[in-house]
């Protein structure tokens, strides 16, 4: 049997020719990449940090200069003068706000003293603990007037507080009676003497440059179960404290 040549499209020894060429295989070195990146980043951060530090140092130097400028603006003498003025104003405020006006006492007494009462001894005192007190001795010819006066001082409408009427006694005094031609006639009358002590509402006595509000005669007669005497404010002829004239009262109001 004769051999027939075989034909094939498959080239012979193809594999040999391909494999004979040296193949260059490129491998991606991930470790190298990471290392390089790290190095570059590290260098960049270091450089950035260096410049940032320089910038911050410059900023600090500027702030120091600003502080120095502000320090130079400050003047000891100006400060001392302002301090001195401040303490003086503060002290003046304190003194004025605690300044008392004792003349208000007399205004109040003039308005609240009963017609038949005469005061003859007066003491006013300020104690170290910012308390003010008064002590007044008075006399009248009837007990009713003392009671009325007590009510007048104790009704809370005036500047007196905790008023105490004490040492109420009677005494006989000789007065000159009507002259009926044979020389002055001596009469013996009985007088009631008393002492009033009390505190003064400090805030009511503070100086405000304003006359005190007029305290009307607030004690009605009917409040006194034993009294039928008319109670009026004192007039200049009644005691040591002359009354304010009507015109003055209106002005003061």
């Amino acid at each position: 049997m004769a051999e027939t040549p075989r034909s094939s499209f498959i080239p012979k020894q193809t594999t040999t020719s391909v494999s004979s060429r040296p193949q260059k295989k490129r491998r991606f070195n991930i470790l190298g990449f990471v290392a390089t990146t790290l190095l570059i980043v590290s260098l960049c951060v270091a450089a950035g940090m260096y410049f940032y530090k320089e910038y911050k140092l410059k900023e600090l130097a500027e702030e120091k200069i600003h502080l120095s400028e502000e320090r130079d603006r400050f003047n000891d003498a100006e400060m001392a003068s302002v301090q001195e003025l401040s303490r003086r104003i503060l002290a003046a405020d304190y003194l004025i706000d605690n300044h008392l006006s004792p003349s208000k006492l007399f205004d109040t007494l003039e308005l609240s003293t009963k017609e038949s009462v005469q005061f003859n001894d007066f003491t006013f005192e300020q104690t170290p603990s910012r308390e003010a007190s008064i002590s007044i001795s008075g006399e009248t010819d009837e007990f009713n007037a003392v009671a009325l006066q007590e009510l007048q001082f104790g009704d809370g409408n005036n500047i007196f507080e905790n008023t105490i009427f004490s040492n109420i006694t009677t005494q006989d005094v000789n007065t000159e009676g009507d002259d009926e031609g044979d020389g002055p006639e001596i009469e013996q009358v009985s007088e009631v003497v008393f002492t009033i002590t009390g505190d003064i509402n400090f805030s009511d006595l503070l100086y405000d440059g304003v006359a005190p509000a007029i305290v009307p005669d607030t004690v009605p007669e009917e409040d006194l179960f034993f009294s039928t005497t008319t109670a009026n404010t004192a007039t200049s002829s009644d005691g040591v404290f002359p009354s304010i004239e009507d015109g003055d009262l209106i002005e003061n109001q």
Partner: protein, 188 residues
């Protein structure tokens, strides 16, 4: 060999740069930043203070010389006893009352003002020196009241500490008064 070592060297170098250069510098920058903030705050406060002081100075300069003089008369640094007595004498003369029985004494009783108004928490009687003047005047009741009102209104502040009198026959009576004068304590 070198190819294998170079990434390792790079990593070591990167770490070395970070730990020996970047990190200490970062700490340094943080300190600088902290200092800058402190300085900045100090500058701001100094600026505020200086502006406030300038405002106060402007306010102070707005007072006239006469006003400052009046304030100084109201709260002097020192009480001039002689001048005060001369002034009191002039005052009583103007009211037509007789002036006498003068006693001048340094006061040592300080008023206790603890618990008072909070607006005066920084000030008390301890901050003042005081001088007490006791005197008597002889005149009518109206003259005494006028005098008392003038004393109350006096620019050189006189605090009436006490007063007493007894009524006697006639218009003229003797009124005893005690007034206190204040000056600023040097320690205030």
């Amino acid at each position: 060999m070198l190819k294998t070592l170079s990434p390792i060297i790079s990593i070591i170098l990167a770490l070395a740069i970070f730990f020996f250069f970047t990190k200490p510098m970062f700490a340094e920058v943080a300190t600088i930043q902290e200092q800058t903030n402190e300085y900045s705050e100090a500058v701001q406060k100094a600026e505020e203070f200086n502006n406030y002081l300038q405002g106060l100075l402007a306010k102070r300069n707005s007072f006239s010389a006469a006003e400052l003089e009046r304030l100084e008369a109201l709260v002097p640094d020192k009480i001039d006893e002689v001048r005060m007595l001369v002034d009191l004498n002039a005052l009583t003369d103007a009211k037509g009352v007789l002036f006498g029985n003068i006693v001048v004494e340094e006061s040592d009783d300080k008023q206790d003002t603890e618990g008072d108004d909070d607006s005066y928490s920084s000030i008390s009687q301890e901050d003042f020196n005081s001088l007490d003047i006791s005197f008597s005047v002889i005149g009518t009741y109206d003259q005494m009241k006028d005098l008392l009102e003038d004393i109350e209104k006096s620019l050189i502040l006189m605090e009436v500490l006490g007063m007493d009198f007894q009524s006697i026959e006639g218009d003229l009576q003797q009124y005893n008064m005690k007034v206190r004068l204040y000056s600023l304590s040097p320690t205030f």
